[in-house]
């Protein structure tokens, strides 16, 4: 049976990677095999032992595009979190004198419809976008990994039941669930994290379950069972660490996806509520003034470009990480 993660525009990585998805698993198997063999024979690798993360970083470092993306991501994070320390703006009190003022020396990117400085607003909106994006990705990946690993490792009827639940979740078009959940829970940063994670963990669980199915037949996992180790130990100490490459790659894409999802909900007015804002919420303000005769371009471009930049950065980082974890065998 074909196993496919339903593609969605919110999962750019998944779409691109569909063909390549199989490859990391194979690489994972090989490395697991060699590691197991080495353990079996009591041999230490001839080269000075380096951690998987270390080797991954060495491959990653040689990828110029990935380094540039990492730089871009760090720049955006610095812009949002350190920017307000240097560029002071009042993002609490509305200022009706400045409503929709065009860019000028005192307001480099103009002001929005209640007189907030757009450049300063971009920074605090970015804080929300990045915080929620990263936190939602972490929650979704953590839960999805444990769920998927448990289902794959236990197998049998429990696996079937757990995966049917995932199938069911993935069959509901995600946007409808997200909209309903945002209506139910008063949207703020914390609830948005869990609303996004509540949908996103499903795809992670399916992926990790597939990974676990190949890992659980490895000798070293069988050995745990033979020497009387508990299932929880096999999962947390052997399965998950060996799937860490897939998990990290998925987590990176998840950040980009979560930021886009949050922006989408914010754009619909169902995301974080004022005085909080995120890049998508800023854009929804732009929509209101778009249809007027004059063009208020500073309400649209800055926030939109920020979303695109951070998503491109995280997607390229994710791609490079996948390459890094795939090719680590040859790099030894």
């Amino acid at each position: 049976m074909t196993m496919m993660i339903p593609p969605s525009e919110e999962t750019p990585g998944a779409g691109l990677a569909e063909q390549e998805l199989i490859v990391p698993e194979l690489a994972e198997q090989d490395s697991a095999l060699t590691a197991a063999e080495a353990q079996e024979r009591g041999l230490a690798p001839s080269v000075k032992s380096r951690s998987m993360l270390r080797r991954g970083w060495e491959v990653f470092r040689e990828n110029k595009l990935a380094l540039a993306s990492l730089g871009l991501a760090l720049f955006m994070i610095g812009f949002c979190f350190l920017g307000p320390l240097f560029y002071h703006t009042d993002q609490v009190h509305t200022n009706l004198e400045n409503v929709l003022c065009p860019p000028s020396a005192s307001h480099p990117l103009g002001c929005d419809n209640v007189g907030y400085d757009v450049l300063g607003r971009l920074m605090i909106a970015g804080q929300t976008s990045i915080e929620v994006g990263v936190a939602a990705a972490v929650v979704a990946v953590l839960f999805g990994t444990l769920y998927g690993a448990l289902a794959g490792f236990v197998g049998g009827p429990l696996d079937s039941l757990m995966m049917r639940l995932v199938d069911a979740g993935l069959s509901i078009p995600y946007i409808t669930v997200l909209i309903i959940l945002s209506v139910i829970f008063h949207p703020n940063k914390i609830t948005m994290i869990f609303v996004i994670a509540a949908f996103y963990w499903l795809a992670v669980a399916r992926l990790i379950r597939g990974e676990t199915l190949t890992l659980r037949t490895r000798e070293y996992v069988q050995a745990v069972k033979v020497i009387g180790g508990r299932k929880s130990r096999a999962i947390t100490r052997h399965i998950v660490p060996n799937a860490i490459g897939t998990i990290i790659v998925q987590g990176t894409f998840a950040v980009a996806d979560a930021i886009i999802i949050l922006a989408g909900l914010g754009f619909l007015g169902l995301g974080v509520q004022p005085p909080d804002t995120d890049w998508g919420t800023m854009l929804s303000g732009g929509l209101t003034y778009l249809q007027s005769s004059q063009s208020y371009w500073w309400l649209i471009y800055p926030a939109g470009i920020c979303i695109i930049l951070i998503c491109i950065a995280f997607n390229f980082i994710g791609d490079a990480l996948r390459d890094a974890f795939e090719t680590r065998l040859q790099r030894r």
């Binding site: 049976m1 074909t2 496919m4 339903p6 593609p7 969605s8 525009e9 919110e10 750019p12 779409g15 691109l16 569909e18 063909q19 049917r164 639940l165 199938d167 069911a168 979740g169 993935l170 069959s171 509901i172 078009p173 995600y174 946007i175 409808t176 669930v177 909209i179 309903i180 959940l181 945002s182 209506v183 139910i184 008063h186 980009a256 886009i260 922006a263 989408g264 754009f267 619909l268 007015g269 169902l270 998508g280 854009l283 732009g286 929509l287 778009l290 249809q291 063009s295 371009w297 649209i300 939109g304 979303i307 695109i308 998503c311 491109i312 997607n315």
Partner: protein, 315 residues
């Protein structure tokens, strides 16, 4: 194959059961329950109790579920108290218009995405390939609503080429009769999907280019055009057909965002307004309908894959 089909349909039914239970349970999560959400904060306890009884919310959950599923099977999706129209009538009114938007957008995106994906695969690692890859990456990273906003900004506000609003009409024919107003919504939809098709087509064609049958065709003296369109094109389409079946959630999301930006009078906009008004019957009905469509789409994708690719044998 028959055994596989039966098992696959059985799975789909189980999934459908879980989804409907979860969806109905969601209704009870509305602040204060569905009836207070509907009546507003000033409803009295007696009114809430009356409507709870009227709508059967005072019964055990499993009875509510059975009654609700029974109604849906009879085509009764409930009644929108806010719009004073039955949900089934709302669907009948808005669904054709959304199908027009989604259908046109998908056709346009396929018409661009497939040839360009093939071009990229044939001329891989050239400047043209990299440029199109860049466009596709932009398509992935750009939220649908931002694409729509940009199109309005460029082609409606700045240049007045097209109207910024979608056609306003109560029927699909009325919508189709205003093609100028349809251009921007369809274009926004197509751009988002285009990236998806072209990436898949590129990797699919690249996989096929190294297959033995291509070498055989070339060895027999088939021209490049014949190899490409007569042999590779057909074999590469299988992945696109599968993808079409799996892309329904994407289409639903696209429809909601684009309909909101352009004020396009379809299901997406109706769903969005229902969310703002906490019109739970509409939310429930539309979600179930979209979910059934998704499950059927997945099923068709699996079956279509098996029919189109004789190498696939399900056991």
């Amino acid at each position: 194959m028959v055994g596989y089909l039966i098992r696959r349909i059985g799975q789909a039914i189980i999934v459908l059961f879980i989804v409907t239970v979860v969806t109905l349970a969601l209704v009870h999560l509305f602040p204060g329950g569905p009836i207070p959400a509907l009546l507003g904060p000033r409803a009295t306890v007696a009114q809430v109790a009356y409507y709870n009884h009227l709508y059967g919310f005072d019964q055990p959950f499993y009875l509510q579920y059975i009654k609700w599923v029974g109604q849906i099977l009879h085509g009764n999706f409930g009644y929108s108290a806010k719009l004073n129209i039955s949900v089934a009538a709302l669907i009948a009114q808005d669904l054709p218009k959304t199908i027009v938007l989604v259908g046109l957008g998908t056709i346009v995106s396929l018409a661009f995405g497939i040839p360009l994906g093939m071009y990229q695969a044939v001329h891989r690692y050239t400047a043209g390939d990299y440029a199109l890859t860049g466009v596709a990456f932009l398509g992935y990273a750009t939220p649908t609503f931002f694409v729509a906003l940009l199109l309005v900004e460029w082609f409606a506000v700045d240049t007045h080429f097209f109207p910024p609003f979608a056609p306003q009409s109560s029927s699909a024919l009325g919508v189709l009769s205003q093609p100028r107003a349809l251009v921007l919504p369809v274009a926004a939809f197509a751009f988002v999907l285009f990236a998806l098709w072209s990436r898949y087509m590129r990797s699919s064609v690249m996989d096929n280019l190294v297959q033995d049958y291509v070498r055989t065709a070339r060895a027999k003296g088939a021209g490049e055009r014949r190899v490409l369109w007569g042999h590779i094109f057909r074999n590469s389409l299988t992945s696109i057909v599968t993808l079409l079946g799996l892309s329904l959630p994407t289409l639903v999301a696209g429809a909601i965002f684009i309909e909101v930006v352009f004020n396009y009078p379809g299901m997406g906009l109706a769903f969005y307004n229902a969310a703002l008004n906490v019109d739970y019957q509409v939310l429930l009905g539309f979600t179930v309908l979209a979910t059934v469509a998704t499950i059927v789409g997945n099923l068709l994708a699996d079956i279509g894959y098996a029919i189109l690719d004789p190498r696939v044998r399900y056991s």
